[in-house]
């Protein structure tokens, strides 16, 4: 208790400060620029470390909620989080500087990498390395799929919707938007509000 007391008070202080004046634009830009430049291997842990633990701009509960909104919107988690947090801290301008900050370092780096790859992409050692990199990326994506399935699938039946999506895109060669709308609506209808309430009330 004695340990949490001052932390909570600090948090409350920070919250009122945000509510009163908004966090300065420069600070928001700088913080997201740092995240954009250092977040090797996935942005989310870096966002949490910086926004929740270091700056106290959002608390953990709000962070998780923003993240779940980010995941069900189109757009990458990283940029959606930048928009949501930026908006909370300083309105539209906050959103703009946050997304710019988080995108600029990686974009600049990939610009250079793209030029290098175009010039040297056919060297033997580069092609050899890239074969390994691409295979590793496939493993990385599969681990993301496993992690997300464990975390965010509400019921066993959700695997049916997941399988339907894969079959529609990979086997039946349906376009992604058509699949997204068809299977998405079906799945949303399956999880429709009153059914969920009955289910949680039943046991």
């Amino acid at each position: 208790m004695s340990k949490r007391g001052p932390k909570l008070a600090l948090q409350r202080e920070a919250d009122t400060a945000i509510a009163q004046a908004g966090v300065p634009i420069g600070q928001i830009f700088l913080e997201f620029l740092i995240i954009g430049a250092t977040s090797f291997g996935g942005v989310v842990p870096y966002l949490r470390g910086s926004l929740v633990n270091k700056r106290h701009w959002v608390d953990d509960k709000e962070f998780v909620e923003m993240l779940s909104i980010s995941q069900s919107l189109p757009g990458l988690n990283a940029t959606n989080m930048a928009i949501l947090v930026g908006e909370k801290l300083h309105g539209a301008l906050g959103s703009i500087v946050a997304i710019l900050g988080i995108c600029l370092p990686g974009a600049a780096l990939m610009y250079v990498v793209g030029m290098f790859y175009r010039m040297h992409g056919d060297h033997v050692w580069v092609t050899a390395a890239l074969k390994g990199v691409a295979a590793a990326a496939v493993g990385l994506i599969l681990s993301t799929v496993v992690g997300l399935s464990e975390k965010s699938l509400a019921q066993k039946f959700d695997f049916v919707f997941m399988a339907l999506t894969v079959i529609a895109v990979n086997r039946l060669h349906q376009s992604v938007p058509r699949t997204l709308i068809a299977v998405g609506l079906l799945a949303i209808f399956f999880h429709r509000p009153d059914k969920g309430q009955k289910e949680s009330a039943a046991p």
Binding site: G36, A37, F40, G41, G42, V43, I69, Q71, S72, L73, P74, G75, L76, A78, N80, I83, L84, E87, S95, I102, C103, G106, A107, M110, Y111, V113, G114, G121, A129, K131, G132, V133, A134, A135, A136, A137, V138, G139, L140, S143, T144, V145, L148, S149, S152, L153, D158, F161, M162, A163, T165, V166, V169, V176, T179, L180, I188, H191, P193, G196
Partner: protein, 175 residues
């Protein structure tokens, strides 16, 4: 030939497909950038995507390379704006409505319903990519190895992708 309008059209469209992650748009990205517009080859797309996993920040920054190849610096900027602009506006609208949405009963339905579909899209993107990236014992072993390590230990994924490069050099360098 000015490719900027086509770049903007393609990447604005792709941005709306990235539900759950950038890779959800990968099958359509392959069709549009490789087959329709021929801005790059399929192996190049796979390479850029994979190398992009080692870069910090949002993990689809490899689109910058496609923009740069097809339209120079202006192409790169156009692609960035087209790919991040539309979803940013949408996220901003949702950010404004966030407090109201908390009480909306369909919110949970949408989140629970879209979760399996977005994971399915991710997996579909992964399969599309695997078709070009996995072609033999070595590449399969690298992919399975990375998967097992990530499921078992807390390792920075960027390091494993870098490790993949090392294993790639060791396995595929002509001796």
């Amino acid at each position: 030939m000015n490719q900027i309008p086509a770049l903007v059209r393609v990447f604005a469209y792709l941005s709306l497909l990235t539900v759950g992650g950038g890779l959800a748009a990968f099958p359509e990205m392959k069709i549009l950038t490789v087959e329709v517009h021929k801005w790059l080859t399929f192996p190049q797309l796979i390479h850029l995507y994979s190398v992009g996993q080692m870069a910090p920040g949002p993990n689809m920054m490899m689109i910058v390379c496609i923009g740069q190849w097809a339209g120079g610096l202006l192409g790169a900027v156009a692609v960035l704006l087209a790919f991040f602009g539309p979803t940013a506006v949408l996220a901003f609208i949702v950010a404004r409505l966030r407090k109201k949405l908390e009480k909306w009963p369909w919110r949970t339905s949408i989140q629970q319903g879209l979760a399996p579909v977005s994971i399915g899209l991710l997996l579909a993107g992964c399969f599309t990519m695997a078709k070009g990236a996995i072609f033999g014992v070595e590449t399969a072993a690298i992919a399975v190895g990375v998967l097992m390590i990530l499921l078992q230990y807390k390792v920075n994924p960027a390091l494993l992708v870098l490790g993949g490069a090392v294993v790639g050099v060791l396995s595929f360098m002509p001796t």
